[in-house]
């Protein structure tokens, strides 16, 4: 029996522990990963288990941490660099986008940078504008980076385990609103191979393409839609690079309608990339234009009602779906 009920946070920790037990070259480095146990508790207790040589508490030097991880990854270690909040990525972007992502290419394939940058983003804790963003588009734009965004407990475990076997840098983005999420972790059984999207709910009328915490909101929306007689299919992308175009396009060609849901801001977001790809691959099969339901184009406000309304929720997703499929306008339509 390998399946147990646990949380997203525990699944992440188990993935790190199992990977570190198998691979002595894995080290975890970052702010408060050791004695403190991680800002969100993911690495709790690991310094006792693995010692300060493998669980490295660092000063608050994000660029230096990631830069050292790059050099260490080129020299025989497999570092997991933890960036406490994805909002701090601005401090790291040179080391990530100009160095980690390009070293294999610039050096003609001589060496790779097998490191994982773990971070977390998203809203839900009134953490305000500099601690609540969803910045995956910045990373997904850069050739040479893999980007994973697990939504489920089982994916938290398996995607992180897989990321820790890959020969190239992986940006692993967790969601702060998912750490306490409960679910089943089966260490022997991933939901799907790395790079493959998973159909979390099958449906016939519309395909909702999403990832990370918006998978949960989209599944809740699909329930609301079912009550109205609309059958929605929910696709969880799991990784943005590699991106599973085939599963997306096969689903949309069947349902003839597509909605892309992201917590990230609309403009220039990964939702735009997904929408464009669906239009390109499914144009003749679409009944309606691909519709994006995304975060508002505003900084994330601190006040709970403002914060809640800055990002999509199940109701908004369901209302939009109903409008698209049944042409039933929501109350806010003019």
């Amino acid at each position: 029996m390998t399946a147990i009920d646990t949380t997203y946070r525990e699944a992440l920790r188990q993935a790190l522990i199992d990977a570190m037990n198998e691979d002595p070259d894995i080290v975890v480095m970052g702010e408060e990963v050791g004695l403190y146990g991680g800002a969100y508790g993911v690495t709790k207790g690991m310094i006792e288990q693995f010692g300060p040589e493998r669980i490295l508490d660092t000063p608050i030097s994000e660029a230096g941490i990631v830069g050292a991880a790059v050099g260490a990854a080129m020299s025989g270690l497999r570092p997991v660099a933890e960036l406490m909040y994805v909002d701090f990525i601005g401090l790291v972007m040179d080391q990530l986008a100009n160095q980690a992502a390009k070293i294999r290419y610039m050096f003609g394939g001589q060496i790779g940078v097998p490191m994982v940058l773990r971070s977390q983003g998203g809203t839900g804790r009134s953490a305000a504008a500099q601690h609540s963003q969803s910045l995956e588009a910045w990373m997904a734009h850069i050739p040479g980076l893999r980007v994973a965004m697990p939504a489920t407990v089982n994916d938290a475990y398996h995607l992180l385990r897989h990321a820790l076997t890959l020969p190239d840098p992986v940006v692993f983005l967790e969601h702060k609103g998912l750490y306490v999420q409960k679910g089943v972790m089966d260490t022997a059984k991933p939901d799907a191979p790395w790079g493959k999207a998973v159909v979390r709910r099958t449906g016939a009328d519309i395909t909702i393409v999403t990832y990370s915490k918006m998978v949960l909101e989209s599944l809740a929306a699909a329930e609301l839609l079912a009550a109205q007689g609309v059958s929605a299919e929910v696709l969880d992308l799991r990784t943005l690079n590699p991106l599973d175009d085939e599963t997306i396009s096969a689903s949309v060609r069947r349902t003839h309608r597509a909605m892309v849901v992201t917590e990230a801001h609309l403009t220039g977001g990964f939702s735009a990339e997904l929408s464009a790809r669906i239009h390109e691959s499914c144009f003749d099969h679409l009944e309606e234009p691909v519709t994006r339901v995304a975060g508002e184009d505003i900084p994330i406000p601190v006040s709970p009602p403002l914060e809640r309304n800055a990002v999509p929720n199940a109701q908004l997703i369901a209302e939009t779906g109903l409008w698209l499929v049944q042409r039933k306008a929501p109350a806010w339509a003019s």
Binding site: G64, V70, A72, M74, S75, N98, R104, M106
Partner: protein, 339 residues
């Protein structure tokens, strides 16, 4: 030959090879055979050879945009270097990196870097790996005075000192960050003090004196190997402009004349003569090196360009999913639409 003279002779040879190579880099450009004009010559900085010769074979290093000299002094083949600078398939990086991103893992070259200060932390990370894996190597980060004003240098110095890592930071202070003289970039030129403030050993060395550079580097590297990281600043003068197109409008000819008089190669040659080496012997060595570099230049010019399809290789490891070429995607989309 006394051992002192043997060492200086070897250092002179290293430095002459650097200058001779850089002259061919320049010629590659003049003959329109280089890939672009972003070529940064290290003429005047040849005393880096003193650091390079103080390193062990398995020590690693990172360099900057002006790193040709360091690489050749660490054993690079000039023909493959020039081929890379020309964007050829036979280059060290198969024509993907060029002058500013040349690297060779076999020689411990963890990469030249075109972001000022960009490679410094990689040497720190390499040193972290050596310490963790109990390997006796040292990593050396080479960079220019421009990087002395970059934040990541200080994050890196702090980590190196905090974790007692086997790393040496080497600043080549050629007086200019592009067109900005170092005293227009910073108020305190005592860079050694900055390093000492982090708990590192710190030294400023006159880089016209390659023997002094070598002696200092030997000590710093030996200390680093024992977990005591250090910083050395080589004071020199950039003889020519920032890159091949720069005519140096920001400095006058008197300054340049005085700067070029601070010639590490000339000084080493003079010292060798004083210690009894015949001019004819050095002339013969110079000529031998010139012949080697001429052959490397012609070989790089004759080398072939990489096949276009190789541009999709090396974004990720060979067994991993690759980026989709634009034409493949357009084909999938438009061939269906036009049916």
């Amino acid at each position: 030959m006394s051992s002192d003279n043997k060492l200086l002779h070897a250092l002179y040879r290293d430095m002459r090879r650097i200058r001779s190579l850089e002259e061919r880099v320049s010629e590659l450009f003049v003959r329109s055979e280089s890939a672009g004009s972003m070529l940064h010559l290290s003429i005047g900085e040849e005393a880096v050879a003193g650091v390079c010769r103080a390193m062990d074979a398995k020590d690693s290093f990172t360099t900057h945009h002006r790193g040709h000299g360091i690489f050749v002094a660490r054993g690079a083949e000039p023909a493959r270097m020039l081929a890379e600078i020309a964007g050829k398939a036979d280059g060290y990086c198969r024509g993907k990196g060029g002058s500013m991103h040349i690297a060779d893992m076999g020689l411990g070259h963890l990469g030249a870097n075109a972001i000022v200060g960009g490679g410094i932390s990689h040497a720190v990370g390499a040193a972290l790996a050596y310490k963790r894996k109990k390997q006796p190597h040292v990593s050396v980060a080479f960079f220019g005075d421009g990087a002395m004003q970059q934040g990541i240098l200080y994050e890196s110095m702090n980590l190196a000192a905090l974790w007692s890592l086997p790393v040496v930071f080497v600043c080549i202070n050629n007086q200019y960050g592009m067109g900005t003289r170092v005293d227009r970039a910073t108020a305190n030129l005592a860079f050694d003090e900055r390093a000492r403030a982090f708990g590192l050993d710190g030294m400023i060395v006159d880089a016209t004196d390659v023997e002094l550079v070598h002696e200092t580097a030997e000590r710093m590297i030996a200390n680093a190997r024992q977990g005591k990281p250090g910083f050395m600043c080589l004071t020199c003068y950039r003889f020519y402009g920032h890159a091949r197109m720069d005519k140096s409008p920001y400095r006058d000819s008197e300054e340049e004349a005085a700067g070029r008089a601070r010639d590490p190669l000339g000084k080493a040659r003079q010292r060798l003569s004083e210690r009894g080496t015949k001019a004819a012997e050095l002339d013969a060595l110079d000529a031998e090196i010139a012949t080697e570099m001429d052959a490397a230049l012609e070989s790089a010019i004759k080398a072939t360009m990489p096949p276009v399809e190789t541009m999709f290789e090396d974004v990720f490891a060979p067994d991993q999913p690759k980026p989709t070429p634009l034409r493949t995607r357009l084909n999938a989309m438009l061939s269906e639409a036009s049916r």
